[in-house]
């Protein structure tokens, strides 16, 4: 039972990271109806920036917030420069550009910081929390940071003018534009926020998976799985889906022989295909019906 609880909490901790990635994916999906395959690489690159800032002797939390700001600007700029001209292009063009971004960012990180594996410090330490054996301080910290971000986002989208404008721009661009919302700018803002959320996910998971250019590949896959399970049209669903995927992954890894340990990524694959086949809108998403 203690093992179960321990693994459950550890699953919640990594699930928080998947939830953040899922949320970033959903934000961009809401804005441009496409999946950001470069989300993981953007997060990885931000984490490298944080590592570089730490190398320059910045205190952890200064580097943390500075990185979030840089990631925000980076995401905003990527939308303005690369995606704005393709707004009305065919879906293939979007996928091509996401793959292009994936390749560019991945290879730039290797070029600038080389491909060796680096350790990334945890602000919470890896010792057990308050001397009990159930959860480590870093895991608890990850859950805490995730919950703070979720609360901030909830408040932002519910109570601020900009947040409401962003929702309006995503829900109905044309009407939003008519009432004076700058839809294009809101889309870019969404990109910036997705990049910033991704950077938090990257910095929180880096002490666990270590820092290297391919570190986010599997995290992104779990993020996708979370987003699909919860529903790509539902930010809240994506968060729940992310937590669920983290817990499923960890429990399967402990209690299912072979599959759990060596085929962890296949769990995500099976989840994605199963949910898309049985209930494409996810657990909390809304069904989209197209008029002919």
């Amino acid at each position: 039972m203690e093992l179960f609880l321990h693994q459950f909490l550890a699953g919640l901790a990594t699930g928080g990271i998947y939830a953040l990635m899922a949320l970033a994916i959903v934000m961009i999906y809401q804005a441009i109806d496409s999946l950001n395959f470069a989300q993981g690489e953007m997060a990885m690159f931000s984490t490298f920036i944080a590592w570089q800032l730490l190398q320059w002797q910045l205190p952890f939390w200064a580097a943390f917030f500075l990185t979030i700001a840089i990631a925000f600007v980076g995401g905003f700029v990527i939308e303005r420069v690369v995606f704005k001209p393709l707004r009305h292009a065919h879906q293939l063009a979007h996928i091509v550009v996401f793959i292009a971004l994936f390749a560019i960012i991945n290879s730039m990180a290797g070029f600038l910081w080389d491909f060796s594996i680096k350790s990334f410090p945890s602000p919470f330490g890896s010792h057990p929390l308050f001397g009990q054996r159930l959860i480590s301080a870093h895991d608890a910290g990850m859950i805490g940071v995730t919950l703070i971000i979720l609360a901030l986002l909830y408040g932002f989208f519910r109570y601020t003018r900009v947040g409401l404008s962003m929702r309006a721009a995503a829900a109905n661009p044309e009407s939003a534009r008519l009432v004076g919302v700058r839809v294009g700018r809101m889309v870019a803002l969404g990109w910036g926020m997705a990049a910033a959320i991704g950077s938090v996910a990257g910095m929180m998971i880096a002490p666990v998976v270590f820092l290297e250019p391919n570190m986010m590949n599997s995290i992104l896959l779990y993020g996708f799985a979370g987003a699909v399970v919860g529903g790509l049209t539902s930010p809240g669903g994506a968060v729940i889906g992310g937590f669920a995927v983290g817990v499923i992954e960890n429990l399967a890894g402990t209690f299912v022989p072979y599959v759990g340990r060596e085929l962890k990524l296949s769990i995500a694959l099976v989840l994605i295909v199963a949910v898309l086949t049985v209930k494409p809108s996810g657990l909390f998403g809304e069904r989209i019906v197209n008029r002919v």
Partner: protein, 338 residues
Amino acid sequence: MNTRPFWISLVAAVGAAVVMVLPRRRLAALILVIAAASILPFTVKNFFVFQMTLVMVYTVAILGLNILTGFNGQFSLGHSAFYAVGAYTAAVLMEHGGVAYYWTLPVAGIVCFASGFLFGLPALRLEGIYLALATFALATATPQILKSTPLEHWTGGVQGIILNKPDAPFGLPLNPDQWLYFFTLAVALLMFIGAYNLVNSRSGRAMMAIRDNPIAARSMGIPVELYKSLTFGLSALYTGVAGALGALAIQFVAPDSFTFLLSIALFVGLVVGGVGSIAGTFFGGLFILFVPNIAEQVSKGLAGAVFGIILILVIYLMPSGLGGTIRLWLYRLLQGTR
């Protein structure tokens, strides 16, 4: 070494491929391609023969992807998985079954067709971007599946499998590299002719109708799901045969050769060559073999950046890829002279 015949044949091959892009004159162009391709291996170093073999391997793999994306309008980021299945089928058959190398190709094709069709059945209910997602998951999970303990006895785990290079049969005066080149060339030509005929057949038109408007296609009586699954299977077949050929050429299969990066490379080849251009896939194959080499000479790790930047440029500047762009230029040129 006298390099002149090499350049002549390379220019002739590329020139013929360029002409291939045009309709009509196809037969003449085909003969020119075969002639040039037959001279090539006797005029260059063995390593270059090997590289050109790989170009053809990639060309066939990209052709498979093009059948899916270019003619049926479905996206796959998971073709590295089918390439891997083909390569491993060939390797396991040769290593554990003692099967002759040429029999591995049809088996790899059938296995990949079946796995593509089966993966396709659930996945093809998904539209565009969701299929891209499911196949992305497939590509990411594949190396881990190949390494897993239950399969280790067959796949050799992380170590992979080392293969022997086949010798030329019937006492032909060819070294193994040259023989494999001609073998690959023959298979590639067959696959190309097959693809060309398919696209111009009734089934090919049905595939394209589904690409252009699935609802209209359905109302004309085309069984959309069946066609999409079959196309996915066929596309996997092409890529799987390419994987088997690639395993023979490289003489080695290992899980880490078949990561998502391979899917990206095939996707890059598809876009650069031209989505929906059959002859263009050859340019895609040339591109993904030689451009990374050049980029890696400048600096390690730059290949991805070059890939990415060229992808973005292609999307902005010539959305129909090299194949489509060359076709356009040739048309203009011919119209000007008339």
